[in-house]
Amino acid sequence: MGAYLTRRFLLMVLTLFGMSVLIFVMLRLVPGNVADILVDSAGIADPKEKAKIVAELGLDRPIFDQYLQWIGGLFRGDLGFAYVSERPAIEEIAPRIPISAKLAGLALFFSVILGVPLGVISAVRQNTGLDYMLRIVSLSGLSLPSFWLGLLILMASVQWFGMIPIYTNEPRSFIDEVLLLSIPAAAVGFRSSALIMRLTRSSMLEVLRQDYIRTARSKGASQTSVNYEHALRNALLPVVTIIGIEAAFLVGGLIVTETVFNIPGVARFLVEAILWRDYPIVQNLVMLIAFIVVMVNFLVDMAYMALDPRIKYAD
């Protein structure tokens, strides 16, 4: 196990290093740099002014030097300066992370809390009216884009309640914040919950047909015990995988939801930074996302072991 963990750790470091090179190079291959854009925003294209900005931002230095400066800074906890706001990148990024983290956490919570039980119900009540209804709901969850759903929620709120659940003022308390974030979280989590529900259903159906379930039933175990103690635990294995993948994909869903509900989170900020070619912001945020994805994958692997004792990671 120790050797496995060491191998895993080294692989994670290698993945992150690869990501850092990839994002650094790819950003610089995209046409237009921040100097072009800053000059462009003023409606002019004066080469002298552009050159001045390039020099000021250190973009005229060799790319290898720029890379080393960034990575060196990362190890020292210095994320550099945002090109557009001209403030330390950490000051720009840090306050936005908790907002997106809470939104993503809530969205994931909604998708699991809805997806897993409904998937189980749908499976154990297979081909009943309830199953059909749940399948229709899950299908709509998969086909409704979250930005459209978000706009629909906003329009309904204005029309029926004369209010709009958007993030215009900083919430005064934790409860306020949870309440404010729960609507966008539900909008973004709806799609994931539908996916989790469908996967839980099919996985449960497969497990419920296994011999050991029949044995449990014949031994007189109650339906609840069969469903939740014997079947669900084994059926959860592929569901855990998809929850891990969804956690990574959630960032994509957050971008549109943060835009529609006007949440000052990190996902919308990342898109804005890409448009402005604000390299320090983009590089650091992509690295952060890569780190989260790598960690989630690691945790998913560990969860396999907890769910299925037969799985052992050999030394």
Binding site: D40, A42, E56, S157, L275, W276
Partner: protein, 530 residues
């Protein structure tokens, strides 16, 4: 008895009207929706209303257009930091007596040195580190030097007479900057002398301004604070306004279809449509054959039928005009009868297109052998939508065009490289003034002459009108320039935009300026009645 009561009542009414201090209410926070992240907070370095609207109230100018008037006009200027001004005999020296006792938001005194260093930087003095970008350098090409006489007198020394000079100083784009503050601070948390101070400018979130308690204009501003909430999604902005989350929409943010929604969701909203002095125009690359020939450029202009543009994009409210904003909102635009003689403005569109087809046939194109081009434009709806209509209209003169949407962030860079054939563009004018328009957009040496249009005759006429002190004579030269630009297909104008701005009925004292969206955002005369 009745007569006495009537006299007392009318006396009271007169007293109330004559004492505005009794009517206006102090206090309250105005919440305004903002459409995007301003590139920076430095008005002098940027060219967008996204910067002017939130930050103009942080500063003062030397003079300004009378904020009570809807039309910015050179004969309606009022003092600001320049308490009074005078010209010398040959009108080449403009001297300002400056207001005394004015303080910057950081407590330092405002003096003539600040005026000098601001305009030294604007005219391109490389010793000045005040600006990183200078998009309006061309406005001050006639400014020889700025001299000071003590702390409270400053003189602008011009190369020659230029009646527009005062109008340029009055623009929202001409605030006075402090000498002692570095350019980075001015881009992120600027210091001014204006009625509001910047508390915070957080990208993707908000711009927060608070009342300047030491403002030199006593009793102003009325509002305690202004919060611009950055909401990039237009639907969310409009719904937010309808739900009472915002007191005012962003300037000209409400399109005509959205106006109907707002009126139905919030019937008490006050909405005003006005010309923004932004026009839709076609950029024609004179280096890309066959557009190197003036007749090919003219043919493009003659293919335009403004009506579909106006009906589809503005429900018929947009204005027809050439390079200058047409009257009555525009001070300098040519009369309608004259306009209809220009290519692209004929009332008989079919006849005009028949002529354009003949030109194209002369150049070797026909229905069977169309000219294939790309229409490049910024990849945002306000640019893309007219570009699509243009593509449809070009088919009438044997031009088969394809849309080439360009990432908005590199639009001008592409244009400067001349990496396009036809382009759909929007041009906004900071001041309704021929000097700012012609020197910026059509003068052969200007950085913002995107098509690199070069015509020595036009340059001469631009200089000539710029020096003409008789406004009526000057108008005639301006119209001649507009005519020649249209004939040359220099940058054919399609329509002049109209935009709607809405606010709650409790917000009082709003006067939108009808010939430039870039001016009139001082907010010092607005108050909330709640």
């Amino acid at each position: 008895m009745h007569t006495r009561l009537a006299v007392i009542a009318s006396g009271l009414a007169a007293f109330v009207i004559a004492s505005p201090a009794f009517a206006q209410k102090q206090g309250g926070t105005l919440k305004v929706s903002h459409r995007d992240n301003p590139p920076s907070a430095s008005i002098l370095e940027e060219s967008t209303v996204s910067v002017n609207m939130p930050f103009m109230s942080v500063f003062n100018n030397l003079v300004m257009f009378d904020p009570k008037e809807k039309i910015n006009s050179p004969d309606k200027l009022v003092p600001d930091l320049g308490e009074s001004w005078s010209w010398n005999g040959d009108k080449t020296k403009l001297t300002f007596k400056l207001r005394q006792g004015v303080k910057w938001h950081d407590g330092k005194p405002f003096t003539s040195k600040d005026v000098k260093c601001t305009w030294d930087a604007l005219r391109g003095d490389e010793k000045q580190e005040l600006l990183r970008k200078n998009p309006r350098k061309v406005w001050y090409k006639n400014l020889k030097e700025v001299t000071t006489n003590g702390d409270y007198e400053v003189t602008f020394n011009l190369e020659r007479v230029q009646p527009s000079f005062l109008s340029m100083l009055a623009a929202g784009y001409s605030p006075v900057y402090p000498c002692h503050v570095d350019s980075r601070t001015m881009r992120s948390k600027p210091i001014g002398t204006g009625p509001f101070k910047v508390v915070d400018f957080k990208r993707n979130e908000a711009i927060k301004l608070v009342r300047n308690p030491d403002y030199w204009k006593k009793g102003r501003p009325y509002l305690d604070a202004i919060e611009f909430k950055i909401v990039p999604n237009r639907s969310t902005r409009m719904l937010g306004f309808a739900a009472g989350e915002f007191d005012m929409t962003f300037d000209s943010d409400v399109t005509f279809p959205l106006l109907n929604d707002i009126k139905s969701q919030k019937p008490d909203a006050v909405c005003e449509g006005r010309p923004s002095n932004v026009n839709q125009n076609i950029l024609i690359n004179p280096e890309a054959p066959p557009f190197d020939k003036p007749e090919a450029r003219r043919a493009v202009a003659m293919s335009i039928d403004q009506k579909p543009f106006n009906d589809i994009l503005f429900q018929g409210h947009a204005l027809s005009g050439a390079a200058m904003l047409p009257p009555p909102a525009g001070v300098w635009g040519m009369p309608k009868e004259m306009l209809q003689t220009l290519p692209g403005f004929a009332t008989d569109v079919e006849k005009s297109r028949a002529e354009a087809r003949k030109i194209m046939e002369g150049l070797g194109y026909s229905k069977d052998k169309p000219l294939k081009v790309k229409v490049s434009t910024r990849n945002i709806a306000i640019y893309r939508d007219p570009a699509v209509i243009l593509i449809d209209q070009l088919k009438n003169i044997y031009i088969e065009a394809e849309l080439d949407p360009i990432d908005t962030t590199v639009w001008y860079t592409k244009i400067q490289r001349k990496d396009y054939q036809l382009g759909m563009n929007l041009t906004g004018l900071g001041v309704d003034d021929p000097d700012t328009n012609f020197y910026e957009n059509f003068y052969s040496t200007s950085d913002r002459n995107y098509t690199s249009y070069k015509n020595p005759e036009i340059d001469k006429l631009i200089d000539q009108q710029s020096a003409e002190t008789d406004q009526e004579k000057r108008k005639k030269i301006v119209w001649e320039i507009e005519k020649k630009l249209a004939e040359d297909g220099a940058r054919p104008v399609i329509v002049h935009n109209i935009g709607n701005t809405c606010w709650i009925p409790q917000l009082k004292g709003v006067v939108l300026q009808h010939n430039s969206i870039y001016n009139g955002w001082r907010f010092e005369d607005m108050w909330l009645e709640r």
